[in-house]
């Protein structure tokens, strides 16, 4: 396989699509390719769209994209849906609601299955963001799986996180107390054409006020209403995202957040690399399976054994 990176940087859609597949598959060459991609990243604004199943995330993504396209901004979309824990297969249906974005050469949509990852994204979603960023997309919109409470990986991936709620889906604060209600830079109450929308708006506004009373925050989370299917409120939504982006830049928070993200990412790469190398060494000679036999037979215990393994490992060197 040829090196896809130069082609991606030159704007080849085919090369980008193939590179994303390699990264999703954790192909042995993907780290090398991502290394070459990295210097070209950091320009795009990453917008996360999260919320319960069926609240209108895909429909909103499509309309937001339309607003950005009117401004001549290029857009990459990553739409994540769950893989079945039983078969490993996945039905990726977000594209159905993204018909408008479809057919525009400056919009690239990629559906991703979670492949067992639990935080609302696929393991490789952050890497796919980098690929689209290096390709030159001005905006990258990431739609998470329909989340419950604690699938909050999106905050680690996005610069601005939009939490979408809708009336009539049991989306009350009570049902969303943990996790998801703590990550919003912006709340959107979608399906405002339905009854119960105003009550939900009030409920969320009260929550935001409480948040401010509990702890002073430099950013006050706006609560917006939209009717995505009728394209109502999407302009204002994009303007609110602009405000947040400006806030991030002017307050210096963007720099801080990106520093922290880079630290996290590098640390987890390091952990993976260490465990891969070390485990290869430990599992390579078959003695590990003998140890398991010993543990089962009560000749040894796992706690002491693990310490011993690590000690011998370092005394070797």
């Amino acid at each position: 396989m040829e090196n896809l990176v130069p082609e991606v940087l030159q704007g080849s859609i085919r090369a980008m699509a193939k590179l994303i597949t390699l990264v999703e598959n954790e192909d042995s060459r993907s780290l090398e390719f991502l290394g070459a991609i990295y210097p070209h990243t950091g320009k795009a604004h990453v917008l996360g769209i999260t919320g319960s199943p069926g609240t209108g995330k895909s429909t909103l993504t499509d309309k937001i994209t339309a607003v950005l396209r009117q401004r001549n901004q290029t857009v990459g979309i990553i739409a994540v849906d769950p893989s079945s824990p039983f078969t490993g297969g996945a039905l990726l249906g977000d594209r159905i609601r993204m018909q408008r974005a479809f057919g525009d050469p400056d919009v690239f949509i990629r559906s991703m299955a979670t492949r067992g990852n639990l935080g609302g994204l696929a393991r490789s979603t952050t890497d796919v963001i980098k690929i689209m960023d290096a390709f030159g997309k001005d905006w990258i919109i990431v739609e998470t799986v329909g989340v419950g409470q604690d699938e909050v990986d999106i905050v680690k991936a996005a610069d601005t996180t939009v939490v979408v709620l809708a009336p009539g889906l049991g989306d009350t604060i009570q049902s969303m107390k943990a996790g998801v209600m703590e990550i919003a830079d912006l709340y959107v109450i979608n399906k405002a054409d339905r009854s119960g929308a105003d009550a939900l708006v009030t409920e969320v506004r009260i929550r935001v006020e409480q948040d401010a009373q509990i702890k002073a925050r430099p950013w006050q989370t706006p609560v917006l209403k939209t009717v995505a299917v009728e394209d109502q409120g999407t302009e204002s939504l994009v303007e609110a995202v602009d405000h947040h982006r400006k806030f991030l830049e002017e307050s210096g928070k963007l720099k801080k957040v990106r520093w922290e993200k880079t630290r996290q990412e590098t640390l987890s790469l390091l952990k993976e690399e260490i465990s891969r190398n070390v485990l290869e060494k430990i599992l390579g000679n078959g003695r590990f399976d003998d140890l398991i036999d010993d543990i089962i037979a009560n000749r040894k215990d796992p706690y002491t054994s693990v310490k011993e393994i690590v000690e011998t490992l370092f005394s070797d060197e």
Partner: protein, 134 residues
């Protein structure tokens, strides 16, 4: 190729045909066989289908037609795939397709046609055995 590779399928309904039971069924069948299936929904032009295949780096494009438009749409999809350099994508079709149309569709590059009553296991088996190794 790595162990983590999964077969990626685009399931599409070309044209204005509103019969989507077969396409939805097949999307589930492929997903339950462990594949990752992008269902693009109704009323797709060949251009839209091929663009989805390009962006998603699909291995398979599945076309479902029950309204008699297959002779135009299926070959057109194959042709556009070739134009985009996606020669390796396996194109399969199904729905209400008269026997006499099948040879022509195969000549045009559709790998196989499956009509009503086909056992879904056979469809899965065909796809698994015929996807190109990349």
């Amino acid at each position: 190729m790595t162990a983590k590779k999964r077969i990626k399928v685009i399931m599409a309904k070309p044209g204005l045909d509103g019969h989507d039971r077969g396409a939805k069924l097949l999307a589930r069948v492929f997903a339950e066989a462990g594949m990752e299936v992008v269902y693009t929904g109704l009323r797709q032009t060949p251009e839209m289908i091929v663009e989805a295949a390009l962006q998603e780096d699909a291995d398979v494009v599945g076309l479902s037609s029950l309204s008699g438009v297959h002779n135009y749409f299926f070959p057109r999809v194959v042709e556009l795939l070739k134009e985009k350099g996606l020669d390796n994508v396996l194109v399969v079709g199904g729905g209400i397709i008269p026997d006499e149309d099948v040879p022509g569709l195969k000549d045009a590059g559709v790998a196989a046609i499956f009509g009503p009553g086909t056992r879904t296991e056979d469809i899965v088996k065909f796809v698994e055995e015929n996807i190109p190794n990349t």
